[in-house]
Amino acid sequence: MTRAPGGDAPAEVSMGAALNRALRDAVAGDPDVVVYGEDVGPLGGVFRVTDGLHGEFGDERVFDSPLAESGIVGTAIGMAMYGLRPVVEMQFDAFAYPAFEQVVSHLAKTRNRTRGAVPLPVVVRVPYGGGIGGVEHHSDSSEAYYTHTPGLRVVTPGTPADAYSMLREAIACDDPVVFLEPKRRYWSKEAVELPVRTEPMDRPVVRRQGTDVTLVAYGPMVETALEAAGAAAGEGRSIEVVDLRQLAPLDDSVLVESVCRTGRAVVVHEASVFGGYGAEVAARVTERCFHYLEAPVLRVGGLDVPYPPPRLEGYHLPDAERILAAVDRLQWESEWVEGGPG
């Protein structure tokens, strides 16, 4: 990570501010970058991630579109066909669903359809996940829908530095990127000098080293996983935290190396467990590390229910305690037997 010049401690930057700066630098740096969507203009987005951009760059570069997500993604596809690099915003996760056909049937497939002749450098920004007390449809974690769709890159930052660096990289990338922003972390801060260039987005990163168990997390759960690891350290258990960053296509090497070393793993996400992205991680890691595993890879995630109303979301969302409870179930006693029929 780039250090501040002159030795001054870098300023604290929130993830929202880091994303805003990334957009600003991308728009300033490349005349082909346009930013549009619902309320991203003068308002600066409902989360203010595009704050100030409309004023700075004008309506040609940053603008409000009609209120229609399929049209937003569809027009972005057309723009990318002609050489622009659109960055569009879906206001909330569930409001990206109207665009599902455009995303799955066109955005993901056009490069392939045309044997590479028509790449689509489009970034679809989606604030996702819960924890902000949002009413219905404002807190979905929709990564599993996108990660099962070949042709899409699906990335999600867990820190402000990554938010900046990965968004810049996503905009520069010639593949379509679904850029999932952990909305509850928009206000999380980190001391970092911007611009910053972190690891390439397609490489998972070990956020904390450990020897006893690997905790696999991404997006909003990175912070939670680190919290759990910190608490466990106090109790003498050494947890390694892997932040996946690019969920698809996945580079599983860091993951496999870590789990084969620790012999135990828990994967955590906000989305419902059933059919969630964690299933892929668990299945893959198990396949590759089977003989190194002391216990099955466990998953900690949301309940298999529609996202609850604000006053119940606390029961739904994984927290450090639930993660540690899963870690405790990783068969630390040699005589452990669980599961099986009946």
Binding site: V46, A68, G134, H137, L303, P309
Partner: protein, 348 residues
């Protein structure tokens, strides 16, 4: 009504009778007070969010009071006033915004669909429902509410089209409040009016002053009557204005001018009906009028007090309710999660 509340006749539409005029005004007074009260609760953090419809009461009240008992209402998130006018318990209207549960009322009881957040998606529900009712031989029409911004969604188009092709009795009442959060109407459409959209579906479109409760009532009543009679669905565009921010977390100073708000505040729908009621002596002589209007105010205060009281409680919703209504029965894996959560909660 003109903008000062003076009566204007129209050859096609029948003005509401005096009793109805009084109802309209009363419902607006209650609605306005409810908007204010809910806004206050949101600022106090007692509601997770509140999308106020201050300024739009005439459109909602005028539309809803045109419905018959057996008809259905399909409201969006901004239509609290429509719901309480329809008779839904005001506290239950706020359940969604308080965050206790997604829908606070039983839709079948009041023939009000749950408040709909994904824009324009409720419109096709209204079409399907009225189709089903006709199939069952019931005379049921529906009023589907949506905003100006929502008309840009593909779902609005599909619903209009299904309604027209199936000739189902739905009136799509578009509250054109000039803004979709921060996006002005001219960025939403290049059409002369939103009512013009009706032409492309082969249905009728009405463009009405949405701050005139009597006019909205007259137009929606007529559209509903025509639709019931087999004349097909209609779009009614009620031109109005969102005086408050989009929700309590909005920052309207970023995108609109205070003078625009002031312009519309002058055209306040409540002032206009009150002026009409007074000028025409609908409620009786001046004294009687004062008395009745005061009673409306008192009714509104009662609603506000009730809401305050009901929202003050700290009773948290039961976590077990997360599991019970996902499916008709609790499936085995979900039941496992239910038991795990119960165990977790016992531990703490």
């Amino acid at each position: 009504m003109d903008r000062h509340g003076r009566r204007v006749e129209h050859p096609l539409f029948t003005a509401p009778d005096p009793a109805r005029l009084a109802d309209l005004h009363r419902a607006m007074v209650i609605g306005r007070r409810f908007n204010q009260q809910a806004g206050t609760l949101a600022r106090q953090g007692r509601l997770a969010v509140y999308p106020s419809s201050t300024g739009q009461e005439a459109a909602q009240v005028g539309g809803v009071l045109a419905l018959s008992e057996q008809d259905w209402l399909f409201p969006s998130y901004r239509d609290s006033v429509a719901l309480i006018t329809r008779g839904v318990d005001p506290a239950q209207v706020l359940t969604l915004f308080r965050g206790d549960w997604h829908s606070g009322y039983d839709p079948r009881r009041h023939r009000c669909a749950p408040q709909c957040t994904p824009l324009a998606t409720n419109a096709s529900h209204a079409v399907g429902l009225t189709y089903a009712a006709r199939r069952k031989g019931h005379d049921v029409a529906a009023l589907a509410l949506m905003g100006d911004g929502a008309t840009s969604e593909g779902d609005a188009h599909e619903a209009y089209n299904f309604a027209a092709v199936w000739n189902t009795p739905v009136v799509f009442l578009v509250q054109n409040n000039h803004w979709a959060i921060s996006v002005p109407l001219r960025r939403q459409t290049a059409a002369p009016t939103l009512a013009h959209k009706a032409i492309g579906y082969g249905m009728r479109g009405y463009h009405v002053d949405g701050n005139d409760a009597a006019a909205v009532h007259a137009v929606v009543s007529r559209a509903l009557a025509e639709a019931r009679a087999g004349g097909g669905p209609a779009i009614v565009e009620a031109v109005t204005y969102r005086v408050d921010p989009h929700t309590n977390s909005d920052a309207p100073q970023r995108y609109r001018d205070e003078s625009e708000v002031a312009y519309w505040v002058e055209r306040d729908p409540l002032l206009r009906t009150e002026a009409l009621l007074r000028a025409e002596g609908v409620l009786g002589d001046a004294e009687e009028t004062d008395r009745v209007l005061a009673s409306f105010g008192a009714d509104a205060e009662r609603v506000a007090a009730l809401v305050r009281e009901r929202m003050a409680g700290e009773d948290a919703p039961d976590p077990d309710s997360l599991f019970t209504d996902v499916y008709s029965t609790v499936p085995p894996l979900l039941d496992r999660q239910r038991r795990e959560l119960a165990a977790e909660l016992r531990e703490v």
